[in-house]
Amino acid sequence: MTIGGIAIGVATLFALLALSSGIEGALEREISGLGAHILLLPIGCPYTLTLSLMQGADTPEFIPEDVVPHVRETENVRTTVPVVVGKAKVNGELTPIYGTTDDVFRVKSWGTADLTGALVGSYAATKLKLKPGDRITVDLYSEVTVPVTKILDETQGRDDTFVFLPLALAQKVLALEAKLSGILVETENVAKVTQTRYTLAKIAGIQAVPPSEVFDTLVGLFGSVKQTLILITGIAIVVGVLTTMNTMTMAVYERRREIGLLRALGSTRRDVFALFLSESLLVSLAGGVVGLALGYAASFLLPRTSGFGIAASPQFSLAYVGICLLVACAVGTLSAIYPAMMAARTQPIRALREL
């Protein structure tokens, strides 16, 4: 039961660390995967709009396409990538589509520079059973048929789920003629991103947001949830400490005659203290190992999502194993101090009288 108590605390901690790391990693991967120093978005909540852009979800607000030349002319702007996203039926299956221009090849490394047909993400290709040369029908408000020119390599990000189309075709399918979901901007000089951002934000009808700001905000929001989880983990660990302390205290009471005998045979108080501390540490370490196994299993059972609609797998590291075992040892030490002191203070004569 003691091992179980410690195991639950350690399992919760391990799963929390692995999942938090996975979520933060997924957010960072997705946001950096946008390939932009600045995102130009329609007026509205920048976090919703950025997430929509990443997920290929339809947005309620759009940027007029005629702002693109103004963006291109802005100082320090190297690449301007107009984008429309939405979900359309690709061969009858609802699939996120991403319409863009050849400029996208400057910010994405796809091993091709041909956007005359459809570039299909690896996951989408598997799901839709597509190979280069196939023709696909893309349908929502209008229907178009295009050849698949390349299946993209797996990125383990959202790009895997998209079908990338020439901008005009995607706009036709999504009924977004002369409208954009967003614009990706790559700058010449990264040190001047802030200045460029404010210059771009002066263009009417758009807002300029650095992806790093969106990342920080989303991680911050997740951090609030993480704090709640840490609190729950803390409670589980405190319960582990109390359970172990209770077990060790009971052990001291039950073995007081043996302790008395040990003391009578020459064991010092320090020996007795060390004996109980070692036992507690061993029990806690055993609980820690069981907890690691449970935490590993639990982190796969939890939903693999960041809560922002971004898939996130738990990320494990040896450091987390070390942290969890250290916590288990700390639990063992903390919970053993009082019982071990009690044991060490046992008077041999009084204990032996009970024999």
Binding site: I43, G44, C45, T48, D58, P60, Y141, L221, V225, L302
Partner: protein, 340 residues
């Protein structure tokens, strides 16, 4: 899974507030007056003091893939005469009038099981949903029946093909609301009402809600709104006072013409009516979890205020304390172009 839903819920609430921060709502209210209830023991605000301006100017509705169409309010009659007073009408009425005039190819019918008019086909396609916001606002992807969303001057309306999953969740939620209403013999009973503020969270279960006809200028007598939840709680002795503020306009938003809930008091709890702090609300259900947009707004809870959102019989109603001035300031600092 439930605990994860709870976590997602916290995330959604946090992100809702972040949305306010981000969009920088222009919320300096132009108060034409406020009412501290109860007045002489009466939980109904005085009738006839404030009235919303009925829509009178021509407006437009954009239907994706079909075009943008103009409508003229005097030409529009409400299909839901059980809800709207003469001169007022809903988003759906705009579409129905355009269809009747032959301007748009739309077929529709009333679905008893959902308690609303539904679009059977529009431009030969099914699966339509809408986005709407009032003057000075931004689209919020509401989960409000289209024939209950009142139209105002300067309103923006968009129709688009909704994702099948979300549309199914919305439909299922509407169906459950009607079923709940029927199972309660036509009485509106909200299983869970939550009032959240920085100081405390109040939870009330199985709250019976009755009409107080606060917006008798817009709605017919007997129509129950989200605001009636608080007024009913007051009548039932669960709240000791409630402050409603009437705002004609809010910075760049005009007309507004709504009551805002600025203060809720119980015997041992009170919120501060400081600055631009007020209550926004959300009406939702478990069915809608994951389908609330953006970020979990079950309803247009900033723009479609509690006094003009019709209540059928939802699973929960939540009032959430939001300080809009701070939101605006933060939004402006972060994003000089963002306006709501």
């Amino acid at each position: 899974m439930r605990s994860w839903n709870g976590m997602t819920r916290i995330l959604e609430l946090l992100i809702s507030v972040a949305t306010l921060v981000a969009v920088g709502i222009g919320a300096t209210g132009e108060d034409a007056g406020s009412a501290l209830l109860p007045l002489a023991g009466n939980w109904t605000p005085p009738a006839g003091v404030h009235a919303g301006r009925p829509p009178s100017n021509k407006g437009t509705v954009e239907i994706r893939g079909l075009g943008t169409f103009e409508f003229d309010p005097p030409q529009i009659q409400a299909l839901r005469k059980d809800l709207f007073r003469p001169g007022h009408f809903s988003v759906f009425d705009v579409l129905a009038s355009l269809a009747k005039a032959g301007t748009i190819p739309m077929e529709y019918s009333y679905d008893e099981s959902l308690g609303t008019y539904v679009i059977e086909s529009l431009n030969g396609k099914s699966g339509w949903w809408y986005d709407a916001h009032y003057a000075g606002g931004a689209f919020e992807r509401p989960v409000v029946r289209m024939d209950e969303y009142p139209v105002k001057d300067g309103m923006a309306i968009q129709l688009y093909l909704e994702s099948p999953d979300r549309l199914a969740a919305i439909t299922q939620d509407f169906g459950k609301q009607v079923a709940r209403l029927r199972s309660n013999g036509g009485r509106v009973v909200v299983p869970k009402v939550t009032v959240r503020s920085p100081r405390a969270t109040l939870t009330f279960n199985d709250v019976g809600v009755t009409a107080h006809n606060v917006r008798s200028d817009v709605f017919q007598t007997g129509v129950i709104s989200v605001l009636d939840v608080l007024l009913s709680l007051g009548e039932q002795g669960q709240l000791s006072s409630l402050e409603l503020a009437w705002r004609d306009r809010m910075e760049n938003a005009d007309p507004v013409d709504n009551y805002f809930v600025d203060q809720v008091r119980t015997e041992d709890y009170s919120t501060e009516a400081a600055g631009d702090c007020t209550y926004v609300h959300e009406v939702g259900s478990e069915t809608l979890m994951g389908f609330l947009a953006p970020h979990g707004h079950a309803t247009s809870h900033v723009h479609l205020t509690a006094d003009v959102e019709v209540l059928t019989s939802p699973e929960y109603v939540e009032f959430l304390w939001a300080c809009l001035q701070e939101a605006r300031a933060s939004g402006e600092n972060k994003n000089p172009q963002a306006k709501d």
